[in-house]
């Protein structure tokens, strides 16, 4: 029997906890672009080396800029069951981030639709959930 590998306690996931749970992004000290999750030493927009990581708290509310619906099961975790809606959204207060849209039928997604980031279980490792934020329709 294959031994089950539990990776939750590995430094990678533990380090990401604050960014993932509290929606802490990184703001480039040079050009001000918002990077999420914050793990960049070099700004992907202007190439400036980040001497210190400037934290920026994201506003969970935003609007859909673009989306796609994936009907084919992906090669990732088995929890990513189709149809999976992937969206890019502009957040109020700054930041354009991509993520999964959940609690929503694929035919109801529209560009400009108000959405909100909520903490959800992304997948499980060794039976333990790994949480991150997903978009949900705001419905207002």
């Amino acid at each position: 029997m294959e031994a089950e590998v539990i990776v939750m306690s590995t430094p990678y996931i533990a380090r990401e906890l604050k960014d993932e749970y509290c929606l802490i992004a990184q703001k480039c000290t040079s050009c001000g672009v918002i990077i999420y999750p914050m793990k960049h030493k070099i700004c992907p927009s202007c190439g400036q080396i980040q001497e210190e990581r400037k934290e920026f708290r994201l506003n969970p509310r935003g609007k859909v800029v673009s989306y796609t619906v994936q009907y084919v099961p992906g090669p990732g975790a088995k929890e990513f069951t189709p149809p999976m809606i992937l969206v890019v959204a502009d957040l109020e207060g700054g930041g354009r981030i991509s993520g999964i849209l959940t609690d929503c039928a694929p035919e109801t997604v529209k560009i400009g639709m108000p959405v909100k980031l909520e903490l959800r279980s992304l997948y499980t490792v060794g039976g333990l959930d790994v949480y991150s934020h997903k978009f949900v329709p705001l419905g207002e």
Partner: protein, 460 residues
């Protein structure tokens, strides 16, 4: 000799606690005769003494009489009490602020205090500052469940947690909503109390505190195993706030139930989370008094090695000896303590159950005073969250000054709280959100329900 005379009908316990545990008034009063205009139902003196932290001095109730303000008799009684109660060499330790010393010297009477009056006197009554909730989008019609099992049921629907939702995510969403609605910064919250009877893979409170961005010194408490834990969490938070240990506290009740397929619970248990913020200022609902009743009665227990529960086969026995007995005991004790009459209540919020009306009838509460919630109609019996959702729904049914009863029930007993509405309209936003949750839904079928509850598929 300093005397504190507190009318019993004015809620001795609450005032005594507020007086004794407030950080500015750590006082030790050498003698406490308790005057009361009503016959004392229980031995208030030791409890009051405990509240004001005089633990070494034995106390007893003096003769109860109708003439509370008769000073001659009061003096006689004091001498009487002095002989009875005080050892001669009891040190008179008394360190309070000068204003309080003056008030105590001139004999202090507490009548029904509003929060503002209480603030003026330096006695701050804690209460509920704001509320929030979260309900999953997914619903199943009870007819679909009955169809799967070949039976019949009344029409209705219950909420079901999504595939990516669990007690943790629901608790975080409800808590965020509560903090947003009550305009409280996460750094001001010093305590998080969570109650759930559903399964959790890890202690919830520390992770919720982390996800909300609270200070790492915040106190975290996980209650559980009984739906009554929500009111116990509230009482613990109220005590911590009135003691001055924390500025405000967060109480969360959350349920993602996994009832046994084919059981009657499957038709009624729904998933939801409710949260309230307990604080001292800008109260929405102030707490006037509380009472508890505990026993060893068990009508429902966990089946080892499964997420399911089993309940006694004698449903009437469970209803009468469980719900009705416990709720009536805690509530009537609260009525006695506050010298309240059932007619004085504007609204009674009972723990979700078919027996609520029976308990109300026994207590003498008119049926039109019982809160019939929309949440039970659209989300089902949400267990630990039900009372908190009920509180939110009371927002448009009470006005400032109205009295509310909050009576919980769970395995082990019942807690009853009497609340005074101060600014119930402040909960309007949460109420609007609750109504939006009633409208926003996606139905699932029975196989999907089993998948959502992780009985089949991944994670099972």
């Amino acid at each position: 000799m300093y005397r504190v005379v507190i009318g019993k009908e004015m809620g001795t316990n609450v005032h005594a606690r507020a007086l004794g545990w407030h950080k500015n008034y750590k006082i030790n009063v050498p003698l406490i005769p308790i005057a009361s205009s009503s016959e004392t139902q229980d031995d208030s003196a030791p409890r009051l003494a405990w509240g004001i932290s005089i633990r070494r001095i034995p106390c007893r109730n003096p003769r109860p009489s109708k003439d509370v303000i008769d000073h001659d008799k009061e003096d006689e009684r004091q001498q009487d009490s002095e002989q009875l109660l005080l050892p001669r060499k009891t040190p008179s330790r008394f360190y309070a602020s000068p204003s309080i010393q003056c008030s105590l010297l001139t004999q202090l009477f507490y009548f029904q205090l509003s929060t503002d009056q209480g603030n003026f006197l330096g006695i701050v009554m804690p209460g509920i500052v704001g509320a929030g909730l979260h309900v999953p989008t997914w619903r199943i019609k009870t007819e679909d469940i009955s169809k799967a099992w070949g039976g019949q049921s009344l029409p209705g629907e219950i909420s079901v947690a999504g595939l990516d939702e669990d007690v943790f995510t629901l608790a975080v969403s409800a808590a965020k909503d509560a903090l947003e609605n009550s305009n409280i910064e996460p750094r001001d919250v010093g305590m998080v109390c969570i109650n759930t009877t559903s399964q959790s893979k890890f202690p919830l409170a520390p992770r919720v505190a982390f996800a909300l961005g609270l200070e790492t010194e915040a106190r975290v408490h996980d209650f559980g195993l009984s739906t009554r834990g929500t009111t116990q969490a509230m009482l613990a938070s109220l005590d911590a706030v009135s003691a001055g240990s924390v500025r405000s506290a967060l109480v969360i009740g959350v349920e993602v139930p996994i009832p046994k397929p084919g059981s009657s619970d499957e038709l009624s248990w729904g998933a939801a989370a409710g949260a309230v913020v307990i604080g001292k200022t800008a109260l929405v609902l102030a707490v006037k008094g509380c009472s508890s009743h505990s026993s060893a009665f068990v009508e429902r227990w966990a089946i080892p090695g499964t997420p399911f529960q089993k309940e006694t086969a004698f449903s009437r026995f469970g209803r009468d000896m469980g719900y009705v007995d416990h709720v009536c005991s805690s509530t009537s004790s609260l009525f006695n303590r506050l010298a309240l009459k059932p007619e004085a209540l504007k609204l009674a919020i009972f723990q979700e159950s078919g027996s609520a009306e029976r308990a109300a009838k026994t207590l003498g509460i008119a049926p039109d005073r019982i809160l019939r919630t929309q949440s039970s109609r659209f989300f089902g019996d949400t267990g630990s969250a039900a009372l908190l959702l009920g509180l939110i729904e009371s927002a448009d049914k009470v006005r400032a000054g109205d009295l509310l009863l909050l009576a919980s029930y769970g395995i082990g007993g019942s807690d009853a709280l009497c609340l005074v509405a101060e600014k119930p309209e402040e909960m309007g936003h949460a109420l609007g959100k609750l109504r939006a949750f009633c409208e926003r839904k996606i139905y699932v079928d029975y196989p999907s329900l089993l998948r959502h509850r992780k009985i089949i598929g991944y994670g099972s």
